[in-house]
């Protein structure tokens, strides 16, 4: 089993507030890893470190066999230039809690713009790819709509198609359903389940326990800036080993 992401003692502080206090983490290629835990526990920050939207203070973080944000040349770490960082980010898809679609572009342009500008695809090729992906997320016929004309669930599905259009090796989801109305959560989770069944490597920060229980290959429980425990969903949800996890699960399931 090859590892898609490996973190060793990753630390990150904002001023004097330590958010990540030594994260040890690994996610296997082709598997779905769900990161769960209480708010403010560092889940989203850690996810954003994986594609270098946030910079880590110390420790090592590796995606595939490349270090995030750095390059080792003759035993010395060199910080990467913006252009090199951009090239690596292009291989990692990211889906945000607040969608972050480009409001001045139609759904189709949202999906085909980055393949044209970043990957250098021809417009025809990018358009074909975008149309296929939009159909796949159930949005055939909505190509010409601007984000404002779409529901939250539809916007998030466009955002997933936009990330997939880059043919990423890894997909990061940062609480993809937290900003959605309850009745729209299902349609987004369906798309994610499809993606998982096709063998996409996914790391998902989520509060959807049902999704984590049924779709995840690995559950990572993060609280107070460290990974408290991790394991298969069956083990974690039925027999959590730490008090912190038992306490958290007790609170989430009782509602």
């Amino acid at each position: 089993m090859t590892e898609a992401v490996i973190a060793r003692d990753v630390r990150k502080a904002y001023g004097s507030t330590e958010v990540l206090k030594g994260i040890d983490f690994s996610a296997a290629a082709g598997e779905v890893t769900c990161i769960i835990g209480p708010s403010g526990g560092g889940k989203s920050t850690f996810l954003r470190c994986i594609n270098h939207l946030e910079r880590i203070d110390s420790g090592t973080l590796q995606v595939g066999d490349e270090l995030v944000g750095y390059e080792r040349r003759r035993g010395v770490l060199h910080e990467l230039r913006e252009r090199q960082i951009a090239a690596r980010r292009a291989k990692i898809g990211m889906v945000f809690q607040s969608f972050n679609l480009f409001p001045h572009m139609t759904a189709l342009r949202n999906v085909m713009d980055a393949p044209v500008r970043v990957l250098g695809l021809s417009k025809v090729e990018a358009r074909d790819r975008a149309l296929t992906l939009l159909a796949r997320v159930g949005l055939a016929g909505k190509e010409g709509n601007y984000p404002q004309q779409l529901s939250g669930g539809q916007q998030q599905r466009v955002a997933i198609a936009r990330a997939l259009a880059m043919r990423p090796e890894l997909m990061l989801f940062d609480e993809p359903t937290s900003a959605l109305d309850p009745e729209l959560v299902g349609e987004v989770l369906e798309v994610m389940k499809d993606l998982a069944s096709e063998g996409m490597t996914m790391i998902v920060v989520t509060h959807e326990m049902g999704f984590a229980r049924t779709v995840a290959d690995q559950v990572v429980f993060m609280a107070d800036g460290v990974v408290q425990e991790h394991g298969s969903p069956a083990d974690f949800f039925t027999a959590p080993r730490t008090d912190r996890a038992r306490d958290f699960l007790g609170k989430t399931i009782s509602h």
Partner: protein, 299 residues
């Protein structure tokens, strides 16, 4: 509910007597003013008609238009550069841009015009690579006027553009970065096009202001509209008549600019305004007159 809707009751709206009285008073005042101007024997309206399209006046209008367009174009370009400098990670660039804005916003544009006109007093010649020219051949009165207006405008445009850039949600730049856009691509393809919506309305106002501010350059006789009508009235003493000629041109130009601004704003709201795509006569009127009614939307 169904009982109430079956027989609609008659409703008497509130009568606003105060509003009505104020409206009548305002209309009367306007009529009196128009009557006073139209029947004033001291104003020779025939002279106004004669000079309105006279060659000297038209030349002045052309110079005013050139000054407005050129100084706005230079101002916007320089403004973008200054705004990006102020966002820079390089502290020196940030500081220099800040100093520029501080200086040009802190001195009156009239002083700047006179300053540039007199620049030859302490920089008599300009030497570039062993090639020397007298400053006065480059900085003519038109050149001094353009330099002053453009450099001054750049300071204001820098602030407008900076406000536009910072108004865009950080998530937009993050999403672009996550897709692999370089910082430059993120700025030019994602942030600036969206910031335009915020930047264009005040820029339109700046353009309209600029049309009027150009009249200040008459102090250095830059051959703009006001300079030319003053030349004429210095000869024939028809001061008020020629000021009316100039005012008619200024108001015509600013009105045309307002209409252009309205259409530009409409075009930029693509993807933001829901529904209502077709242009109506009412839209046209709203564009023509500086009346902006607040849009009422059913909530």
């Amino acid at each position: 509910m169904s009982e109430a809707t079956a027989t609609p009751e008659r409703v008497v709206p509130v009568r606003h007597w105060g509003r009505l009285a104020a409206g009548v008073l305002a209309a009367l005042a306007l009529a009196a003013l128009l009557w006073f101007f139209a029947t004033n024997d001291n104003i020779r309206w025939s002279a106004v008609g004669r000079y309105l399209f006279g060659p000297t006046v038209l030349e002045g209008v052309w110079v005013t238009l050139q000054l407005t367009v050129l100084s706005m174009v230079i101002g916007v370009v320089l403004g973008v550069v200054l705004a990006v400098m102020r966002q820079s990670k390089n502290g020196v660039l940030r500081w220099v841009a800040g100093l520029y804005v501080w200086f040009f916003r802190g001195t009156p544009v009239l002083v700047q015009i006179v300053f540039w006109f007199n620049i030859a007093l302490f920089v008599p010649t300009i030497t570039i690579g062993g090639f020397s020219v007298s400053t006065n051949t480059i900085v003519t009165s038109f050149g001094a006027a353009l330099l002053a207006l453009a450099l001054n405008e750049a300071a204001y445009m820098a602030e407008i553009i900076r406000a536009g850039i910072t108004s865009i949600d950080r998530g937009q730049a993050e999403a672009a970065s996550a897709l692999g856009y370089t910082p430059l691509q993120t700025m030019t393809h994602i942030v600036l096009p969206q910031a335009l919506r915020v930047i264009v309305p005040p820029t339109g106002n700046e353009t309209i202001n600029m049309l009027k501010t150009t009249s200040l350059v008459s102090v250095v006789a830059a051959q703009d509209l006001l300079t030319r009508v003053q030349e004429i009235s210095a000869r024939n003493y028809l001061v008020i008549e020629l000021l009316i000629v100039a005012s008619i041109w200024y108001i015509a130009l600013t009105t045309v600019a307002s209409v252009g601004q309205y259409y530009l704003e409409r075009r930029l709201s693509r993807g933001y305004a829901r529904g209502r795509k077709r242009l109506t006569a009412g839209d046209l009127l709203r564009g023509l007159l500086p009346i902006r009614t607040t849009e009422r939307r059913p909530s």
